[in-house]
């Protein structure tokens, strides 16, 4: 593994509408383990932003603490990033978003960062319908502290040390739907073909958009008996999977054949194509989505794709009736009532 990221790029790399080639969207060299699912997700983010012609500086990356939360350093180096404290990214994102509604807020978290220490903030950021993308890179374990079970580890799942998890795993997607999230998707880090359109739709969604990405930990939770290993996930996703390339200690990339296909109109008129959905599945219907998740659980299947979406959603700024202008752009003239108003205030206090 090299620690200097090569700067050389093919001079004829295709450019997007803004005139940027894909390398403009990259970040620093990843320091995660070779083969880590998170790096595939980072790559998907880079590709997504390139294809969507996003100005990187109009996007802010926010994360908590953990392996997953390191990844914002590995994509979009022209964006401001904020690696906050463990489990508290949602609150920082909330403040940042309130200050300036005009940027895209891209949150990255992990299963420890979200489902344990950050559960309270996760729950409440959904409740407030903050206009942001919230990706959980879910590997069922604490990678950075060497492999302890996380709260999303399935009951009975075995980790590298042979320890069997005794507790019920928290299903973040069901929880998000239950809490009123209006965009809930699930994917697999190896399935870039699916992940990219999901991230695109999440960015377009004018409210809280949640994507739970199963992202195996190659070092601590990729063993036989783990329900978050590459092998297990590949075998249990609902659709057929084909493996592109699996050399040892390199990133594993999986690609699916087209399954059933459905087109859902986004709020702004664009649309998203959905893959690998169950037959009687209506992603616009909350109850149908919840049923499908429960049925899949019974069959030990991992559902991927858009699980639930409501394009008509009211995000926090609308709920709070804040100014159409970004609050951080307001000047003294708009903010300070001045000495004249104080005369009346003083009079009212006599």
């Amino acid at each position: 593994m090299t620690y200097v990221k090569p700067k050389f790029r093919h001079p004829e790399l295709p450019k997007n509408k803004l005139g940027y080639s894909v390398d403009y969207y990259e970040g620093a060299l990843s320091t995660l383990c070779a083969g880590c699912g998170h790096d595939s997700i980072s790559a998907a983010v880079v590709q997504t932003c390139f294809e969507m012609n996003i100005e990187p500086h109009r996007l802010a990356k926010l994360s908590g603490i953990g392996c997953s939360s390191k990844t914002p350093a590995y994509f979009l180096s022209n964006s401001h990033g904020f690696n906050s404290v463990h489990g508290r990214m949602p609150s920082v994102a909330t403040g940042a978003n309130l200050a300036n509604k005009d940027l895209i807020y891209f949150g990255v978290s992990g299963d420890g960062d979200t489902a344990s220490i950050g559960m309270g903030q996760f729950v409440h950021v959904i409740r407030r319908n903050l206009n942001m993308i919230y990706i959980v890179m879910n590997n069922g374990c604490y990678g950075l502290t060497k492999g302890q079970d996380s709260a999303t580890a399935d009951e009975g799942s075995k980790n590298k040390t042979g320890h069997v998890n005794l507790f019920e795993g928290i299903d973040l997607s069901s929880l998000a739907i239950e809490l009123g999230a209006t965009f809930v998707a699930q994917s697999f880090s190896g399935d870039k073909d699916q992940l990219i359109p999901l991230i695109k739709a999440a960015i377009k969604h004018p409210g809280f958009a949640f994507i739970n990405v199963i992202s195996p930990c190659v070092t601590f939770n990729n063993n036989v008996g783990s329900t978050k290993s590459y092998d297990y996930v590949r075998e249990h996703v609902e659709a057929t999977a084909t493996i592109d390339f699996v050399p040892e200690m390199t990133e594993i990339i999986t690609s699916y054949e087209e399954g059933s296909l459905k087109t859902v109109k986004m709020h702004d008129g664009s649309s998203i194509e959905l893959h690998k959905l169950a037959k009687d599945w209506d992603p616009l219907d909350k109850i149908s989505a919840m049923n499908a998740i429960q049925h899949a659980k019974q069959k030990h299947e991992i559902l991927t794709g858009l699980l639930y979406m409501n394009p008509e959603t009211t995000e926090l700024h609308k709920l709070l009736n804040t100014s159409d202008r970004a609050l951080n752009s307001l000047k003294k003239k708009e903010l300070c009532p001045g000495s004249k108003a104080l005369v009346d205030i003083n009079a009212g206090l006599r």
Partner: protein
């Protein structure tokens, strides 16, 4: 009635305490009493002594009336208005000998509450109210107004002052005025018929207050935040800080709604806890909005981790800590100055934070505004150390002032134009040599100025590093910034041009009123001291000199451990032998008597005694 001292009339110098049941509407009646005295131009200091409860428990309201301008609490109750039989035993016991005990005589007073050395003023309040009003809620409320009426007669309070207040209070609901006047009159008439009035202590109209106002510190903080241009407030309800954001919300609703669009030029979020509240504040400030939160000690404990992040990642943060009695849940509705150490060094690792110590609502207003300037100039948390006494009690103070020429000091923020001129932006580079780096806001420039904010160590260009040298350079720069802060935070107030006496007093915040009163009394007794009031931390050279130039320095504060004294010792290496703590930590505002006793005791103990050999 037992003997009333008729020989001496005391004008504008007494304490009345009301003993009520909380949730019975007594607060507005008692406020009426205080405000009437305020409108008569006399110094008045009310203290709410309330339970952590909504309905049914004893609550007291103590009002000190004073001609000399002493606004601290005074011990010794001249008149007790006892409307709560639950607390009769305590209430009877707390009246000074020769004082008065007014009580609801609808039920006979138990003989055990009869003290031969005090005077009784029985008024059948409930009975009178029941006879005059039919609605049960009115009967309850007007019982309180009846005793206010009685007090106007007993203490010579102008009836017109009360009438004026009622007119203000019920503007638009004028039909509520008549029954209030009726209740007041019932009280007046009863006194006229049954007692000798006015009492030997009473109110006389003065013009001592000029254009002064009466306000709670929390409201002043909320208003200060509006004037400072705060746009994002995040908070979690906790007594005694709750009314800070409530005030911000009310003032913003009045003065910050865009007239054309009807939309808010502010956002307020009630967070799920204090951790989230401070997280939101940090996120908003990071993104260039002025943002703040208000909390109390338990909230500051929860915010520690985030405060460390804001310190290390250098994000402006304004936190208003309305201190209450700790530790733990402590006495949540009592006052204290006991978060000093926790706030000064909040969070793990080497951290220290700017503290501001307001002592009046006017200062709450001004310092809140200043806190935003300091936080942005210094890119660090600024913590306002107010307390329950200042925050939740009404205080008379000079009117609020705002200079329209004043510009917000937004600190070192590079815009797109400035970034164009820079070869390479380094977020943590000490360009100016003052330890304060330049920052950029997200969304400013397509190719320049982006950086990764983190609580982990990084180099001058915000790149993650575990290099010891880079880490240490950064920590040293933060200390350099701290030294810069020393010279821009509010300077302490010296009471003398030149330090000239052997002994000195240091105090801050709500200990100020009683400390000043104690100084005056000491002077009357021929004991002269110098004094210094702290307004902020870090301390500057004036404080160092003050300690150096005195043999003994009494450090007056409202906590058990002498936290400010510790801070002086730690930060200034002040000689511990010199610093003598004068403490009060019973949850009640410190009194001048208490300060005097402690100082005199210490001075007499240190007087060398001559031993015969």
């Amino acid at each position: 009635m037992s003997a009333i001292e008729k020989n001496k009339v005391i004008v504008n110098d007494f304490v009345v305490r009301f003993a009520n049941v909380n949730g019975t509407g007594s607060a507005s009646a008692n406020y009426l009493f205080t405000k009437a005295i305020f409108r008569m131009g006399v110094f008045v200091t009310p203290k709410n002594i309330f339970p952590s409860n909504i309905q049914g428990l004893p609550t007291w309201y103590e009002v000190r009336v004073n001609e000399k301008g002493y606004l601290g609490r005074r011990e010794g109750i001249d008149l007790m208005v006892a409307v709560n039989p639950q607390s009769f035993a305590k209430d009877v016991a707390s009246v000074r000998p020769g004082g008065y005990f007014m009580y609801d005589s609808s039920k006979k007073l138990h003989p055990e509450y009869i003290r031969p050395d005090i005077n009784y003023l029985p008024i059948p309040l409930m009975q009178m109210s029941n006879d005059a009003f039919t609605d049960p809620r009115q009967r309850q409320l007007f019982k309180n107004i009846i005793y206010v009426g009685a007090l106007t007669a007993l203490l010579d309070i102008e009836f017109s002052a009360i009438e004026g207040l009622l007119a203000d209070q019920f503007k638009g609901k004028e039909k509520l005025i008549a029954p209030n006047i009726k209740a007041l009159q019932l009280g007046v008439d009863f006194v006229h018929k049954n007692f000798t009035y006015p009492l030997n202590f009473r109110v006389e109209k003065r013009d001592l207050l000029k254009d002064w106002i009466m306000m709670e510190g929390n409201a002043a903080c909320g208003l200060g935040a509006v004037y400072a241009g705060a746009t994002v407030a995040a908070w979690y309800p906790i007594t005694p800080s709750t009314s800070v954001v409530e005030a911000f919300s009310e003032y913003a609703a009045e003065m910050r709604v865009d007239e054309k669009t009807g939309k808010n030029n502010f956002a307020i979020v009630q967070a799920e806890d204090e951790l989230a509240a401070i997280g939101m504040v940090i996120g908003a400030n990071w993104n260039g909005a002025r943002s703040f939160t208000a909390t109390s000690g338990p909230g500051v404990s929860l915010m520690n981790e985030f405060l460390g992040l804001a310190y290390f990642a250098e994000i402006p943060t304004v936190l208003i800590d309305v201190q209450r009695t700790g530790p733990s849940t402590g006495m949540p509705t009592r006052t204290q100055q006991s978060d000093i150490m926790e706030a000064a060094y909040a969070s793990h690792g080497d951290t220290k934070h700017i503290l501001l110590f307001p002592s009046t609502p006017k200062e709450c207003f001004e310092m809140t505004a200043e806190a935003f300037d300091l936080a942005e100039q210094l890119q660090t948390p600024v913590i306002m150390m107010t307390d329950l006494d200042l925050g939740m009690n009404d205080h008379v103070c000079p009117p609020l002032v705002w200079d329209d020429k004043r510009e917000y000091k937004r600190g070192k923020v590079l815009d797109a134009e400035a970034l164009e001129k820079i070869a390479k932006f380094g977020r943590y580079l000490d360009v100016d040599g003052d330890g304060i780096p330049y920052r950029t806001l997200p969304g400013t420039h397509p190719t320049k100025g982006s950086y990764f904010t983190r609580g982990t160590s990084r180099d001058e260009y915000a790149v993650y590093t575990e290099d010891s040298g880079a880490y240490q350079r950064n920590m040293d720069r933060l200390i350099k910034k701290w030294h810069t802060a020393q010279n821009i935070v509010p300077a302490p107030h010296l009471y003398q041009d030149k330090n000239k006496h052997k002994n000195g007093l240091i105090f801050f915040g709500t200990s100020t009123y009683s400390s000043e009163e104690a100084m005056d009394i000491l002077k009357e007794e021929g004991i002269f001291v110098d004094a210094l009031r702290l307004k902020s931390f870090p301390f500057n050279k004036t404080v160092v000199d003050f300690i150096d130039q005195h043999e003994k320095v009494f450090v007056i504060e409202q906590n058990r451990d002498g936290q400010l004294k510790s801070l002086l010792m730690i930060e200034l290496q002040a000689n511990p032998q010199k610093l003598i703590s004068v403490l009060n930590y019973d949850g009640m505002p410190i009194t001048a008597d208490n300060i005097l006793n402690q100082i005199k005791k210490s001075l007499s103990l240190s007087t060398p005694t001559v031993k015969a050999n």
